[in-house]
Symmetry: C2
């Protein structure tokens, strides 16, 4: 029976959602699919490539946002957070894939945020750095939120104030985005030109 | 022979630096110290507490910074990044401990950044959120940088543009900090009051 790449990514995503990223190994995945590990390496040269494909699956529903640059930043980041929270260890997996440059979906998101920063007036050499600052915030915020959600779900006792059950995570997330949007606006050509 | 808590943290930090966070387990640590796992649980109720103690060790050299609020933010964040980069998987370990609320050193750093945001004029209910936005940036930036540094060191082939060898990481880090500092300044009482 032929093993399709899409089936491998399906099985890997199910494994992630059920057991978490620590159990998402090539060996375990081969066992789930009832194939030899070698059959997986025909589709993915290494585990990083597999994780990148799972990251792209997690992020596939994030389309483009049509709006002014501020609302584009907020819209893209909100969808990114929602997608990460929809899968066990989603933030950790996508962060690792982003760092390894293995997620095409994250490259597209970074490009859209870079366009938004450029539209805000940030000069071309700095627009991608501004976009990366936003991405690190979203990944960091969501990894933190997701860790606590998963510990809460597992019934772990966390120190006071660490539980997210009664926490206005949406409001906290938006505040950070507003801070970043204001920071991007302040990097617009005229301001940077006046200070450098 | 009595097992001191400090010796356990020493051994755990050495294990981290030599083999990375994946090999930092209670079982492995007990073997290194030639004690039973039970002897470790006398000092640490669980692995999260142990990781928190290692995080505090990594961050112990980060003292206070005396300067205006902008330079305090830049100074604290620069030292935090340096400390994380000084240990294998330092950013990943400290991020996990921060999310679990297990690192006293991270709580202190967050408090100092919160003070800086308050000094910038951010109202008390938002000052900690501003500080967290900065912390997520530093942890996210450094985790990304460290992943790439460690892959480079391991001789891994990364896609074009992902290697940090020829990369001005210091300049990129400072740009993001400047954006955040400008964003914090824009959240000062008068501005927020005018928009809410």
């Amino acid at each position: 029976m032929q093993l399709h790449k899409r089936d491998v990514v399906d099985a890997a995503t199910t494994l992630l959602d059920t057991y978490g990223i620590a159990d998402l190994t090539m060996r375990r995945l081969a066992r789930e699919l009832d194939v030899s590990p070698g059959a997986l390496y025909w589709h993915f040269a290494n585990k990083q490539q597999l994780l990148g494909a799972v990251a792209d699956r997690i992020l596939e529903s994030i389309g483009d946002v049509s709006a002014g640059w501020q609302n584009r930043v907020a819209g893209i980041c909100g969808r990114l957070r929602d997608a990460l929270l929809s899968h066990t260890d989603g933030a950790e997996l996508v962060s690792a894939s982003f760092a390894a440059g293995q997620s095409e979906a994250m490259s597209r998101i970074l490009a859209r945020l870079t366009d938004a920063a450029a539209d805000a007036g940030v000069d071309p050499t700095h627009a991608e750095l501004a976009a990366r600052t936003v991405v690190y915030y979203v990944l960091g915020f969501t990894a933190d939120e997701q860790s606590r959600l998963q510990w809460d779900a597992a019934g772990a006792e966390l120190p006071d104030g660490q539980s997210v059950i009664a926490d206005d995570a949406n409001g906290r997330f938006r505040f950070g985005l507003r801070l970043l949007v204001d920071g991007i606006a302040a990097q617009s050509d005229s301001v940077v030109g006046g200070r450098d």
